[in-house]
């Protein structure tokens, strides 16, 4: 699963998610893509589950690009713990998604296959998405 090899700080603050994606909002590699339409956190498990769903469907045809990388640690306090006594330990890695961000790109398959593969992938993701394609294919 995707995660940084080393980090400068083990625990991050949660931050805000306002605004639209200004970077990573256009198709740069493939002909088809999956675009987020709302904001949220995408965890490394979700990214991996969606990738597996897509690769299993397209089998050995086509290429997939993952356009996001989870580099933000999320902490969690253990179950049945009283409040206080400091911040919990790092549990997961997430990427902050803003509306318009491309999550995956695909090439080397027909539009029908790409649509179905992205539909399966979208079921694994906690953020609403839409299918997009290059204007001149």
């Amino acid at each position: 699963m995707l995660m940084p090899k080393k980090v400068k700080f083990r625990k991050h603050q949660r931050g805000k998610r306002r605004g639209l994606a200004t970077r990573g909002a256009t198709l740069d590699f493939g002909n088809y893509g999956l675009k987020a339409t709302e904001c949220g956190w995408l965890s490394t498990r979700e990214i991996e589950a969606a990738r597996i769903a897509m690769t299993r469907f397209i089998k050995r045809g086509g290429r997939i690009w993952i356009r996001v990388f989870p580099d933000k640690p999320v902490t969690k306090k253990p179950a049945e713990t009283r409040m206080g006594s400091g911040k919990g330990g790092p549990e997961d890695w997430v990427v902050v998604i803003k509306p318009g961000r491309i999550l995956y790109e695909m090439e080397g398959v027909t539009e029908a296959i790409a649509r179905e593969a992205f539909r399966l992938a979208a079921h694994k993701i906690s953020i609403p998405t839409k299918f997009i394609q290059r204007e001149s294919i």
Binding site: M1, L20, A21, T22, A25, T26, K35, T37, E48, I52, T55, R56, R60, G61, G62, R63, P99, G100, R101, E107, G108, E135, S136
Partner: protein, 218 residues
């Protein structure tokens, strides 16, 4: 080379408030600059007309006869088109005035033609670059370049130097830059689970311990 007429109105108000009002009324804020213009001129364009022009076969590479109200006609090209990240609508346009006797640098789309031989063996057509930069006179700008991939097998590729350029055109990109290649399909590798990683680490630790013990015995 296509030449299209486009009418524009000059605008005095700038900033996000007036720009939003313009967009709501179906217009697109734009800016015009070039060697014959002092500074930049702020104008507004018709959104529907603009959308039609940008969807021609040449993409944005069209010469536009810009008719700004109360000013002389100018020949311009699209320098930059800013789109909304979610809706895809045109937010802003940069127009560059061009001189017909001066060479300019443009990006021309490359289209793939034919079915590669490598596809029969499970290969995938991977287009690394979709546009190449060329230098030419404004009247010589091609709509697109067609690249025939029919003879390509798995592992073979076509480069910038393989594109047949007409007289008066010069490619500015590296001649060895790959445009399209036929790549072998990659088998899916199952990701390691946390238990597998732990088992591997434990195994390597045991091996190290055994090696240490043997050294001590010797």
């Amino acid at each position: 080379m296509e030449r299209i007429n486009l009418s524009a109105k000059s605008r005095q108000e700038t900033g996000k408030g007036p720009a939003r009002r313009l967009r709501n009324s179906g217009l697109v804020p734009a800016v015009l600059y070039g060697s014959g213009i002092k500074g930049a001129v702020t104008i507004s364009l018709n959104g529907k007309e603009l959308d039609k022009i940008l969807h021609t076969a040449a993409g944005g590479n069209v010469l536009v006869n810009l008719n700004v109200e109360g000013a002389k006609n100018r020949i311009v090209m699209f320098k930059d088109v800013l789109r909304h990240p979610l809706k895809g609508s045109i937010e802003h346009v940069d127009l560059l005035e061009i001189l017909m006797d001066h060479k300019l640098t443009v990006e021309v789309p490359v289209h793939i033609v034919g079915k590669a031989a490598g596809l029969a063996f499970g290969g995938i057509v991977s287009q690394e670059h979709r546009k190449i930069r060329i230098e030419c006179l404004p009247t010589h700008i091609p709509d697109s370049f067609d690249l025939d991939v029919t003879p390509l097998g798995i592992g073979q590729s076509l480069h910038v130097k393989d594109i047949q350029l007409a007289e008066g055109l010069r490619a500015l990109d590296d001649p060895d830059m790959t445009i399209v290649s036929i790549v072998a399909p990659t088998a899916e590798v199952a990701p390691k689970t946390a238990e597998e990683v732990e088992a591997e680490l434990a195994k390597s630790f045991e091996e190290k311990e055994e090696a240490k013990k043997e050294e001590e015995k010797e």
